[in-house]
Amino acid sequence: MTDAPKRTPLYDLHVELGGKMVDFAGWEMPVQYPMGIMGEHKQCREKAALFDVSHMGQVILRGENVGEKLETLCPQAYATLKEGKARYGFFTNDEGGIMDDLIVSNAGDHFFVVVNAALRHQDIPHMQANLEGVEVTEIFDRALVAVQGPKAEDVVGGLCPAARDLKFMETTLAEINGVECRVSRLGYTGEDGYEISIPEDKAVEITRAFLAHEDCEPAGLGARDSLRLEAGLCLYGNDIDQTTSPVEANLAWAIQKRRKEEGGFPGAARIQKELAEGPSRKLVGIRPEGRAPARQGVEIQSLEGETIGQITSGGFGPTVGGPVAMGYVAAGHNEPGQKVNLIIRGKAQPAEVVALPFVTQNYKR
């Protein structure tokens, strides 16, 4: 059996727009367009950028009390998620590690879930096996397009007035060019913006309509990564995985109070213990003082030369104008202002622990 990378409904459009296509999690996706990663990054921070995120898994959950049942797999309060609202969350394993992160929306007569591309094959069987009485259906015939940036409301609202009325983490069905789409005000860049689920046969037409706006340009996976990193948002497989707990990963904010108190989700013992006593390591922002980027795997040392952790994501932050990184450091070394050394190609480079995010998040609350 061959595993040729899959193509999204927008593949031909990416090629037409000059996208440089790479294999990402089994999908042929644009890493950048002729504008370049830095230009696309700044486009998103200053105006609006459009990303194809159709490789992500879109799943529909139907049944009685879906939210309550999801609570057996996730530490989030999905039983009380109101219709029209979306909430970030994660599946935890029995050891309190993170199996994947996801966005769950209450769409009224069903729940709409978006999971990472690389983990759809894990997550869907996981839900099918454990959500009793819930019909779990993966959607293969819809594109998912993100329009992000301070001008996103103009770009999307121009074609879809209902989008203007949404607040951050709200979702609705709305017509765009006469086609019913799911429009959600959220994203992965730290900017205001939308993710829009579009029937595949209309995806190119609607994407072209967004790109026809003078302030909207296509952006690839390269800019998506530098944008999320500056915004302090975790990437599954880099910053969070089966071994990292949500408390270590600074994601305790995403576990609602009732769930923290009551438990009742996989790995609750470890997570509640870490909430009470503090974790043994913590994910922090790291700002190298020089210009050398510190990438995934770089060792973090105390000034005394003791190994205290590792970089999990790092690169150049175009908006910051210098290198930025995230990584885990041992408890006691995680306060902002803490000076550390990064071992880059055998040499110690000075850096500082800083509060995340590196840039202010501009969500429309």
């Binding site: 890493v31 950048q32 370049g36 990663i37 830095m38 390269g222 530098s226 210009r291 050398a292 980027p293 990438r295 690169g315 150049f316 175009p318 290198p323 190609r345």
Partner: protein
Amino acid sequence: MATYYSEEHEWITVEGDIATLGITQHAADQLGEVVFVEQKEAGEEFEKGDEIGVIESVKAASEIYAPVDGEVVEVNETLADNPGALNESPEGDAWIYKIKLSDASQLEDLMDLDGYKALIG
């Protein structure tokens, strides 16, 4: 004065026993926007195949490998403050080192422009 090219996408222009070394436009285009260059210091010696620097782009870190044996006689220090020059003029102002060749006969193992053009297609 003659210019030679390596399979690692470097160019080397020889004038007497001093040569100027840099990366090709093709390499720069493949790397993407350069954000940092790590260079050796003047006086350091190296052998063919040694790592003599690193170029970090928005995408990844890429090593520079010595195409010949030699010694660094001058470092292009403008790249520290303006690494992006490597995208603008990698075969011009944004040279990386001036080096002293140890063994000029090694140049024969490198390609001329036509050979390099054939390599990159």
